[in-house]
Amino acid sequence: MKREDPSATLPRGTAGARAPLLALRGLCTYFRGETGVARAVDGVDLEILPRETVGLVGESGCGKSVTALSILRLVPDPPGFHAGGEIRFAGRDLLRLPAAEMRRIRGNEVAMIFQEPMTALNPVFAVGEQIAEAVRLHQGLSRREASARAARMLEQVGIPDPARRARSYPHQLSGGMRQRVMIAMAVSCGPRLLIADEPTTALDVTVQAQILALLADLQRRTGMSMLLITHDLGVVAETADRVAVMYAGRVVEHAGVRELFARPRHPYTVGLLRSRPDLARPGERLPAIEGAVPSAFALPAGCRFHPRCPRAAARCVAEEPALLPAPAAAGEHAVACHFPVAEEP
């Protein structure tokens, strides 16, 4: 697979030439299946700067979660395996680290929160114990110090009566509470990068807003970076500094959040933005993108979006577009399309 050096073409963060905390270069994570190899993540380029929130959006099955798990090297192997590319975190190549070293990074420097707070907490331990375990694993605190820290963390994520709640079991807490506990657990060791994989999907709307506000607040206080994985464009618009749009295992568009919402260039992004419900046009039938995400076992040749793309041409079938700076873009904006959308749709 021939590809230009992506770092040259990637847009930089707004804060200038800061070194990225995390940089994915051509990351490929494949899965062996009975019918062949599924290319779930196939050449993802992504950078996250210190203190920055990057939103990673896309439909279900486009490889968002696998990207996240690949960063922590938690893709189950077998059947998954790393097929190429690199993950640089704070100057180190995570894919080359020995397993013990990697364990020290997980939870301590890169932490992750999950979509389902119901299943992401261990049902047989009190939540305080679970937070304390994370702290004890990495910071070698005593049992007592760790449980004090756990109560403090619960307080920080806005749980009332933390000392008592620390003794509760997950089933005794509401969904929003559980997600707060998950967040407390993830940030308890002061990670530099927090990966949030659909943190609000399982929650109802009012709780979603609280959780997003909490994450933003924690980020402001601790200065950590955040990779926010979601399929909800509203969440991205509210929280992210920059957005990467994924389709079929690749990043197809990449821009600052305002720029992306104002001037989407990739036909897929345009379709995504169009398919949102709009209060200004009530009662209208929502336009949908025709077709479905291609199977990772049989990705189309050329541009992966061409079978569903209204602008597809012969070149799209023959040649895969690279992620390049968008023509006539204001600031950073990269798009992987031979015929990017020129103006506002």
Binding site: V124, R167, M182
Partner: protein, 561 residues
């Protein structure tokens, strides 16, 4: 409300909520108590015996001279000559032979001294013992002349003692003139080993746990829940420490017996060899292997056993032999549950038999749960080729007809090398772990896919930590239930083996072996009572296993109802 109780309190609370489970726990506790305290409840040895054993004294007096003579001969010969004499037959080295003879002499002296305390002529025993010590010391340092001189002097003293210190035995009046003093002994205590004592102390503390636990909580800890919680580990440690201490103390107290007795104390008391001023027997004063020719197949008391007994005294069958300390022949308390075909008390044998059956059940279950969980967890968690290999191993072991393998292995192990109890328990565990392994594998496969396992990895937990702390605690419910069933199955297997005559060796009883001792419906009690105990134990374990499954599952929110 329930958040203020921690995991342990909730589990225990749920466990004892159901009346049936509480009853099962009590029954199991009593069954184990019966097995553990069997030596204290049923033995032919008295707790306390204050008296004079003329047989014992007489034997010590008569054999003191041969013992010193042997010692003198050994010392005169020295190691070389002794070696030459013994070369053909092998056996002891010279050092060991000297030590054995020295000990024999010392024990005889000690026995006589005990009965002769206060008798002025007993001072000569002290001289003798000093001579023996000096002779042995000289012999060991190689000074054969001095050793021989001392040993010969000791021999002369022993000869003098034999003639002068004859006791005034009431059964042979006119033979001697020395008056013996009663000696206080604890024959039952001396028969109890350190391991038995450990479990006795442990079980006493466990059974009384609710009592002293509450007292400690209220008086020492002031009823403060947090302090009570923190003291939990300390309490457990205290119980174990006390049990160990008891075992150590018992090991020292029971070990150094100076007694020469070999025959039954009851027989001695009956015949008049032992004249006692005070005897305290256990509630059931029969040994588990005590034969009674006159009381074969006596039915339980309420089924006519007591009424029938005197009738046998007249005609053909041998007379009922009633020894000292036993209930009268017609008493309903004599052989409450009847006797077997050799006239052994069934109740006593049931109590002792529980030790084998319950131990085999528990040990085999613990072992097989450990093996099964380890294999199953490894297969389920790591997957891939590890799972492939381990699953095939499980299938292969599953294919082996377990009972016949157990039979074969037990039949071919030498009971002198591997105790049958250990062999049976280990073999049961080695062929029966597959059930638990499959269960554990399935559970781990399910749990591995849940996000909290991934979350644990994402927090930096290692594979082992993830398995032990996050996966297995969630799988413990089904595994514990399987374990409880395994105890029941182990008891049944041991019973079946004993039934076929391949269990622990005779005359040690086990429930299965007891059930096999008669197959005639006329002697129903021999099959019914052991069978009933096996049945009750198995049912209780199943009930408790079921309750454990419910209790360890925090998602079961019964208390909110």
């Amino acid at each position: 409300m329930n958040e203020t109780r921690d995991a342990w309190e909730q589990v225990v609370g749920r466990l004892v909520r159901r009346r049936l489970v509480r009853a099962a726990l009590v029954v199991l506790a009593l069954l184990y108590a019966g097995a553990i305290y069997a030596p204290l409840l049923a033995s032919d040895r008295p707790y306390v015996l204050v008296g004079i054993d003329y047989r014992e004294y007489g034997e010590a007096r008569r054999t003191l001279l041969p013992a010193t003579t042997n010692l003198a001969r050994l010392l005169r010969e020295g190691p070389e000559e002794y070696g030459a004499r013994r070369a053909a037959s092998g056996g002891f080295g010279w050092e060991e032979a000297v030590a054995a003879e020295e000990e024999a002499a010392a024990r005889r002296v000690a026995t006589m001294q005990a009965y002769l305390a206060g008798e002025p002529r007993a001072a000569v025993l002290g001289d003798l013992s000093a001579r023996v010590d000096a002779a042995v010391a000289a012999g060991r340092s190689g000074d054969r002349e001095r050793a021989t001189a001392h040993a010969d002097a000791a021999r002369e003293l022993a000869g003098a003692i034999q003639t002068s210190l004859a006791a005034r035995d009431p059964r042979r009046p006119g033979e001697g003139e020395v008056t013996l003093r009663p000696v206080r002994r604890h024959p039952l205590w001396q028969a109890i080993g350190a391991t038995e004592l450990f479990f006795m102390v442990l079980w006493t503390l466990v059974l009384l746990g609710p009592l002293w636990g509450r007292a400690v909580d209220r008086l020492l800890l002031g009823g403060d829940p947090t302090r009570i919680r923190r003291a939990r580990a300390a309490k457990l440690a205290a119980v174990l420490a006390l049990s160990l201490l008891g075992a150590l103390a018992g090991g020292r107290g029971g070990g150094g017996s100076t007694s020469l007795e070999s025959a039954s104390i009851k027989a001695g008391l009956t015949s008049g060899d032992i004249v006692a001023t005070r005897v305290v027997f256990p509630p059931l004063s029969f040994g588990f292997a005590e034969l009674r020719a006159g009381e074969r197949l006596r039915p339980p008391s309420w089924a006519g056993g007591a009424a029938r007994a005197p009738a046998g005294a007249g005609a053909g069958p041998p007379e009922v032999e009633v020894l000292y300390g036993e209930p009268a022949a017609a008493s309903p308390w004599r052989h409450l549950l009847g006797t077997d075909s050799l006239g052994r008390d069934l109740l006593v044998r049931l109590l002792w038999g529980g030790r084998i059956s319950l131990t085999v059940g528990l040990v085999s279950a613990v072992l097989l749960v450990l093996i099964g969980t380890a294999v199953g967890a490894a297969a389920g968690y790591f997957g891939g080729w590890i799972d492939l290999v381990l699953s095939r191993v499980i299938e292969v072991v599953l294919c082996i007809p377990a009972f016949f393998l157990i039979l074969t292995v037990v039949a071919f192990t030498d009971p002198a090398v591997v105790p049958p109890l250990v062999a049976i328990a280990v073999v049961i565990a080695l062929v029966r772990w597959t059930g638990v392994a499959r269960l554990a594998r399935a559970e781990v496969l399910r749990l591995r896919e849940l996000e909290f396992t991934l979350a644990a990895r994402a927090l930096g937990a290692s594979a082992l930590r993830t398995i032990f702390r996050h996966v297995l605690p969630n799988a413990i419910g089904p595994i514990l239930v399987a374990g409880a069933f395994a105890v029941a199955a182990g008891i049944l297997t041991e019973s079946a083996l004993s039934f076929l005559g391949l269990g622990v060796s005779h005359p040690i009883p086990s429930w299965g072996a007891l059930a096999t001792e008669s197959r005639s419906p006329a002697h129903w009690w021999i099959q019914v009572f052991p069978g009933l105990l096996i049945f009750v134990t198995v049912v209780c374990y199943n009930l408790v296993g079921d309750a454990i499954r419910d209790a360890v599952d925090p998602r079961m929110r019964i208390e909110s109802r």
